[in-house]
Symmetry: C2
Subunit: 283 residues, 2 copies
């Protein structure tokens, strides 16, 4: 069966285990647990923070005040060489999706602070006349800085501040795969995947909003923005084999595809490990 | 929106919270954490156990030996009036579904030991010509000992030892709703719901295998075994209102229906609390 291979993919996306999590230092802002930091970074934060962290425990400050206070500390950490790859782009910080941010911080600090990031993943599929499904798979450009050449969803991307998930899906469908707006709008939200990935020792706690988009058999996606090298239709057996026994898929895409296979009945409770696998998709 | 009402239903099915769980005493058999007991029951177990619990830490015994040792202790607890409602029926004990049991115990002790129990729930639905879905809802007989008169799935039931989930679905579909075997076999496994319910102070940790079964528009389920009083088709707005703002549904059915609504796109990530709600379906 494919379950052991699938479980291995989920584990790769959750290198930070439950036990590891206890070693990270929570970032508490205005009484909310919004981040999870390596102890070494937490020490740097305190050293350069001049008493700013732990921040605003009685939630008396405004978002602007916290953002300004954080900006000073982040600049000091940049000057000290602790934060690299400065982007000059603010990133919202909240406890869970849909809550107003407690503050905004420089994007380059996001992973060091271990704050939640949100994204959308679209399973673009067709239904063959015999009822079997095929999934459109993108191959990422070799020139992409992250995961070059890996297999990916029809469309996937980070959720920018202030953009609703459904709106982001439509925009990225057009940009990444030339899906017309009216067709992209039929994408159906089908759930959420969460994981605790290890990114250079940081705890990357992503929340992915998953969508299913059924495409007409005669629709061919076309790469529009240079991020995708090519698209290809995978039938379910090939999809299952590729996910379970290779590392060709970008890790988090493998997890979203496993969720797709579970929801569409391609895995069975009779297979050992099924219940644990399904539960592991939301960590 | 319906999300706050849905979140309340999920919380009702998870009265034993994460924090509460720490007050329970794990039951470790052959090195595996197979149960979770109230401290008062754990005390009784030790008092009547004559050193049998914690049981077989080096896993040297056979399942039969452990079952026999447990049977003596359970009989003593029955005679002391601690275990009531003796059934004379053995129940398998394992850490997760699909694993061989470490032992079998009297069914009346299952909730006191806090061992996992498994069930199947079938969302029986029809698709109207305009593409909208309707869910078949059963009303439980007023004479049922548990949850009399509450709303239920088309078919749901506990998974007996040695019966595969898919097999159980087909059998119960016939018994409870007169669904023919060939139609019942098209039920699709779509995931797993877990919760930590409070049953007379015990931690009831159920694992429900969920199935979707699309039924022809002209098929009417017929109650066959006296457990169901009547069946009725609910359209999605009525279904969502009933789940979110009443307690008419048996609590765990409400949670399985929320999962159905999430998977079929009737909830949206734009609604506050969506991500937390979806994650809460597997506790």
């Amino acid at each position: 069966g494919h379950v052991p291979g699938f479980a291995a993919r989920v584990a790769e996306c959750n290198e930070i285990t439950e036990a590891d999590l206890e070693a990270y230092v929570p970032l508490i802002v205005a009484g909310k647990a919004v981040g999870l930091m390596q102890p070494s970074f937490a020490d740097e934060l305190v050293r350069h923070g001049d008493g700013v962290f732990a921040m605003d425990p009685d939630a008396a400050q405004t978002v602007e005040q916290r953002t300004a206070a954080a900006a000073n500390v982040m600049a000091a950490l940049r000057d000290a060489g602790v934060i690299t790859g400065w982007r000059d782009e603010l990133f919202p910080v909240n406890e869970s999706y849909g809550e107003p941010p407690v503050m905004l911080v420089e994007r380059a600090a996001a992973s060091l602070l271990g704050i939640r990031a949100y994204g959308v993943h679209v399973n673009g599929y067709t239904t063959a006349p015999d009822g079997t499904l095929r999934l459109w798979v993108a191959r990422r450009s070799m020139t992409k800085p992250t995961w070059p050449g890996k297999l990916d969803h029809l469309v996937a991307g980070g959720l920018p501040h202030g953009v609703a998930p459904g709106e982001c899906v439509v925009k990225e469908c057009g940009e990444e795969a030339s899906v017309p707006v009216e067709l992209a709008k039929t994408a159906t939200p089908v759930g959420v995947i969460t994981y605790n990935a290890n990114y250079l020792g940081c705890c990357k706690r992503d929340v992915l909003f998953c969508y299913d988009l059924e495409l007409p058999a005669d629709f061919d996606p076309v790469a529009a923005d240079g991020e995708v090298e090519s698209f290809e239709l995978f039938d379910i057996p090939r999809l299952m084999d590729t996910v379970s026994s290779t590392d060709e898929f970008k890790t988090n895409c493998a997890v979203v595809i496993i969720d797709f296979l579970v929801r569409h009945g391609y895995l069975s409770p009779e297979e050992p490990g099924y219940a644990a696998l399904v539960k592991s998709l939301r960590q």
